[in-house]
Amino acid sequence: MSAKRLGHPHLGLGVGLRTVHFDYILEKHPKVDWFEVISENFMDSRGRPRYVLEQIAERYPVVMHGVSLSIGSTDTLNFEYLRKLKALANDIKPLWISDHVCWTGVAGRNTHDLLPMPLTEKSLKHVVERIRAVQDFLERPFVFENPSTYVGFTGSTLSEWEFIARMAAEANCGLLLDVNNVYVSSVNHDFDPEEFIRSVPHERVVQFHLAGHANRQTHLIDTHDSHVVDPVWKLYRLAHELTGGVSTLLEWDAKIPPFPVLHAEVLKAKQHIGEELADGKMAIMSVEPETDAMALPEVDSAVPHPLHHIAAEVV
């Protein structure tokens, strides 16, 4: 049995660090509990992004979150990438490092997308072996997030939550439970999101993610471009109760609002977990599907995250 949250602290309510907020954060030093940073945006940077990160890491707790580990790929592990990841971690001292249960490419290519794993015994064994290798190399437990997915494989024999639960136990890693992703995938794959939340090993959950998504009527896309919808908040309440509460982070990656709006969004979590604290118990409501009234307008350009790229500043 692992220590709760792998022994990591409960950092409170944080937000993802994005370039457009660099100046605001450096000037105003907003009272944010913690920041999550995209590892790939900083591991090669010798310019302003890295400088800003160093300033922020001196003042706030920081966690590193990657999009290119590609733990499920059948290419060999990229040790050049892992060396850079380790070097960045040595420099900025994140509380933990995370990435996704996915693959991003094969045969040397990178699609820069979080592609779905076939959920099979062989696939599970493959991922577990690689997680062990990564953890050995980094000399620390890693934390893995459930991605939003849009297809399932006919050959899959495990549910996603079974896969994740067994992966975490067998590889002895932590979990980043992305509540929005659970909801997005539940709509896309017609499963019960509560069953997912109830079935993951709660003591291994180190962190939650919250985000907005785009409703395309026939499916949802994990766009990270809007507010968190009510069904996701309801799932968050359930996840909070089952885990006893863990570090919570809001991601916003497209149509990014001013920093105070972003921060206010994650602070809404207090209302949800505050209600629980007020009456000592929380009635767990079944999660209703998003209604039309709650649905966001369709956007033709809806692209699943991640698009993590920093534009140059030039005069």
Binding site: E40, M43, D44, S45, R46, G47, R48, P49, Y51, S68, S70, G72, S73, T74, D75, T76, L77, N78, E80, G105, V106, A107, G108, R109, N110, T111, H112, D113, L115, M117, P118, T120, K122, S123, K125, H126, E129, R130, Y150, V151, G152, F153, T154, S156, N188, H189, D190, T218, H219, S301, V303, P304, L307, H309, I310, A311, A312, E313, V314, V315
Partner: protein, 317 residues
Amino acid sequence: MSAPDNSPDAAEVNRVQRWFQAVVTHPDGVEAGADSDEAQRLIHLPPGQLERVITRSRALSAAERLAIYANAYHTRLLECLGEVYPMLKRTLGEEAFDGFAFGYLQEYPSRSYTLNELGRHFPRYLEETRPTADSAESQSSPTDSANNELALVEDWPDFLIDLVRLEWAIYDVFDGVGVEGQALLRADQLSGIPPERWPQVQLEPVPCLQLLATRFPVNDYYTALRKANDDEAIAVPSACESFVALTRRQFIVRRYNLSRTEFELLQAIKNGQSLGQAVEHAASVTDDDMDKLAANLKLWFRNWTAEGFFQSVRLLE
């Protein structure tokens, strides 16, 4: 790092992954991807039989579900290339830019863990393909005035290539090695050197100093586009050999137009030549009068020092 993981468990996963990648990255869509030789070799499927591999959902077929990944793949990477080459995108118009970028992704798909590398080979791709004005027109709407204007310029592939070289250099300097927080060469360190020792001066340029020679004045064009409104078309300049220096101060990329002589001088210094050798080189390749060149040196070096082009100086014995 493309060698596959050889464990037996990985073999079956590998086959599915290679098939999936071939399908969702195919330029003609998922059905064409599934019918492609590569995909068929990995998983043989008769046409319309995607649901043997990919489940359908209550609302979407297997092909529709795969198309979400296919659309995302191209949209995401075109968007990223547009951020690396914003002025090329404005110049060509979105449709034509996306057409070129789409072709580029087929030839140079990403092989790096970072999106920062995605646009690295775009100048080379344009050199190799030398897209014609017709090819841009075929990919843009008839109302795209900036593009129509481009079509009138002779050697316009050279203009495009020069522009992307400048944009890549800007991008490279922005996040590459810099000298923020470090001591740079001061003017008094140079002025304290007796004139007779100047030929033995060796200057160390800052690592972020990049020099570019172009066939079109793309640096001025870039400046004009930055000042213009988003929907304002800027006339494409006539060909004119031009030179630019790029460096970075306080994490912001700075651009400076240079004369040919200044460019040759700085290039020689970057190559490790002493000031005496660099001046000789500049004079020989430009046919500049030595005396005139020598008369300009003081002003040039004062300006370049003020702009932080050099890190240190030493006198060769």
